[in-house]
Symmetry: C2
Subunit: 119 residues, 2 copies
């Protein structure tokens, strides 16, 4: 994968509300969070969004830097997951409220997963 030694993830008390809110104020990123909320870990390459690969990488970095997601590197590929427990600890109720509201208005529904056999 990219030449990244090791992605830095903020600890729970390094997370800030402003960064979290900013990270969750983009439809693509909300879509990513919704997809990740519907299961555990997902392969990076499994994620589908209507943007270029580099742009998707950017969005995942914003989420990662805000502490919303965790990216794990295994061999040649990455796996992304939602930091549910950490978020609930730092910002109780926030994630659930955002997910509920997003479901209600289908925010970020252009984001999804590769269909089976798609790759």
């Amino acid at each position: 994968m990219g030449y990244m030694k090791q992605a830095r993830h903020p600890s729970v008390d390094e997370m800030t509300l402003v960064a979290a809110m900013a990270a969750l104020s983009d439809p693509i990123r909300i879509g990513l969070v919704r997809v990740l909320s519907r299961g555990g870990e997902r392969g990076w390459g499994e994620l589908r969004a209507p943007v270029a690969k580099s742009t998707l990488s950017h969005h995942l970095k914003v989420l990662r830097d805000a502490g919303i997601t965790r990216t794990r590197q295994e061999g040649i590929r990455c796996y992304v997951e939602l930091r549910r427990a950490d978020l609930d600890l730092r910002f109780p109720g926030l994630l659930d409220a955002v997910l509920a509201a997003a479901d209600g208005e289908d925010v970020g529904d252009q984001v999804g997963l590769a269909r089976e056999g798609d790759r």
Copy 2:
């Protein structure tokens, strides 16, 4: 006051999650929401933030346009209030979660009210 016929406030179902999240991803605006959450209506001129008057007006417009606050004009001055009930209806739990998190890390604590006898 300014030459504004009548501020347009979005109805509950015109509010969008993305706009709300974006509005709440700025320290000054979070500070304003916190101040407004600690009471009912506040006079515009009573609000204190470390920015120019025009910038404060801008931030209040962002909050207004997102449906977070309501601005009422009475004679020569304006009164601002949080649209608590509408927010709870449209985004259940979101405001409380943001306020709780903001309290925890003192986001926007540079925003406040004029002290008594300050004007």
